[in-house]
Symmetry: D3
Subunit: 153 residues, 6 copies
């Protein structure tokens, strides 16, 4: 029998049955980065309004995509998440923007795909908004950094 839980005994794709699992508070945090030229970072940061809008747009896109995760990842359960927050940071190296997303729900299964989706779409939105001035961007190191579950009263 397959150890890959999304495949049934014949190896065919299916949604895992989580109906009987306990409702718990589930939190996930994912992060990632988009590498770019120092000049692009300067352009984003120097123009106060522009900066607000590039990151604000990416943040909104990320939250919206987190809510659509179940419509994008075929075997993900559709989950009405109850929290999503996206943060950006500019490390001193001036060669990348760090992205972190956290998601939360009280449900029968976790929300790590929602957090990873938020990070990925935030990165792609930054890419889209800066691609006219920077052809070197790379989205990288997208990964889960925290996943917890705790009792739901």
């Amino acid at each position: 029998m397959s150890e890959l839980t999304h495949l049934n005994e014949k190896g065919e794709a299916r949604m895992v049955d989580v109906t009987g699992k306990e409702i718990q508070i589930r939190v996930a945090v994912a992060c990632g980065e988009i590498r770019m030229q120092a000049d692009t970072i300067a352009k984003i940061q120097s123009d106060q309004v522009a900066k607000g809008n590039v990151l604000a747009t990416a943040r909104i896109a990320a939250i919206c995509a987190a809510k659509k995760t179940g419509h994008l990842i075929p075997l993900c359960h559709p989950l009405p998440i109850s929290h999503c927050e996206v943060l950006f940071d500019f490390p001193n190296s001036r060669d990348r923007i760090l992205i972190q997303a956290s998601t939360k729900i009280a449900a029968q299964t976790g929300v790590e795909m929602e957090a990873l989706m938020a990070v990925s779409i935030a990165a792609l939105t930054i890419y889209d908004m800066c691609k006219a001035v920077d052809k070197s961007m790379v989205v990288s190191e997208v990964r889960l950094i925290k996943k917890t579950k705790s009792a739901y009263a």
Copy 2:
């Protein structure tokens, strides 16, 4: 005036006006990778049916997401793409799956975001299907590798 083309003179987000641009055949190719344990790769490959389904599922998810790019990236133009193909490769290092996506359209603007979206969602789908057996996966090096335009008869 901002050099970032998606921001108008006040730095506010807007869709770039491409109405007057020439309709040309536009092709984009993007690639990326998902790093994972050799054991996970072995699990995917050793079970013929399972392998077919993990990659087949990721491929379908990628194509479907490419078609929805304009609904996921706020300032992307909605583009009815006329071709999308997704390829996977297993390098000898046995520590990652390489993903490549190509997209095509005859339109007034290019399809690089569609190709990048396909690669990202393919990677996240693989992540989702294997996360029960591998907690170490990282999506990385997602980037554009080709973008061309040519005359549309």
Copy 3:
């Protein structure tokens, strides 16, 4: 600290965390109107079949949009609503159609945006169906008129 609950301490947009809030039965009622020429109202009402279809189409569009509210309003929680009803009324002034929508759910947060969405999309659908014969239509007075919560057994 910002009093606008959708903005975190730095003023950045985020989904409010409602995970720990109590599940209650939540009802919302919104209303609004679309002003139009008396002649347009007469056209809608005189043709029995046509009338049924203009309002029936608007009603269905409204219910469908209420269900998609979390995909349209960026910081709205996605809520699987358990009831939605849309009513139309023709006041004696013969210069407008009144629209009322009620929504209901047992959840951790309310459904006023769903009710407002239903009213707005009902109005726009009527606009779309009548715009060939009336260039004067205006959607107006869209507002919340009731919001309650009560114990969920």
Copy 4:
């Protein structure tokens, strides 16, 4: 008063109010078939990779559509289903593919429309993938074969 539960007293469409109904584990199973030429079935089955991909694609499309049922059927409640599985079978008559889908949720209303949606979209996806080689296909006998509810602990 209308006996059709989706119509209110005036015969106008509305979502039925299920807010007060008991949360129970609800299962539905639907089935259907797509009739085709024996030659088309042979093409699907003889090419091992192709076969895997035709049915794998149809299976993924079916699961994704089941999750979107509330966005496709106007008066369906949006339901975050917790399980979906799709099976195919080739009867000895060699003139059709049988499709079966099961769906599951702990909720206030049932998931039969989700199961019927999965069967219908699986059939249409097979149709789409084979229509270049077979103009005779017919989707038929789509129906509910099981619907149960049981206590949710």
Copy 5:
């Protein structure tokens, strides 16, 4: 090489490249039926308003689904259709409703899947609205009956 045009040389799913195909006016007509008890048909027809709404709802659902075909059938090209019409008929046998849908576009590829989608979703919407009073319904004989292309000036 595979004769199934949606599978590439390795048998992997892909969207067929239609970029270079000629833009032509393409029309498709599909039909199907939903079998039900004579009593259910009488209920739909006897209540004039109710009837209008059951079929009006099904018609709207069908048109909306036709527009989403490219988001539901994985390898379908997303096509901004320029016409869709849905008709219902009650044969003298009083045991079924006949459904016909026609779709049209000026594009590089045809719209038969859109017509088939409209018929299928119309049938499922009728099913949803009548399932409380009739457990015997079956969706059947969904098929393409016409597909043409002609010069686009």
Copy 6:
């Protein structure tokens, strides 16, 4: 015969056939307003970051909704718009925010519903973000102010 162009001869809803209409550059501009307390406007404007984000979020929501108009208004043609811009203004009365949206496409039919959709969703997004501090908001005067078509080279 009905003068309402979305209804066929029997008064049943259908998408108008625009296949044969000339491709022209079509522009639409719509506007509207959201009335609110002076205090709410002050809160939005005084906090520079918060202000940027409330309006930035509304602007992004508006653009995204404009792109989805064909999926929200049942008889609207799905139109891949090639431009969308959303502007906000604070009149001296300090009792409302004015919203204006312009949309553009080279197509067979106009984009006024897209512009009206953008205005409506911008207003509802502002409503959503401010509803915790202001219960008096009203969305009003949503209307088309310009619609043009010109030759497409």
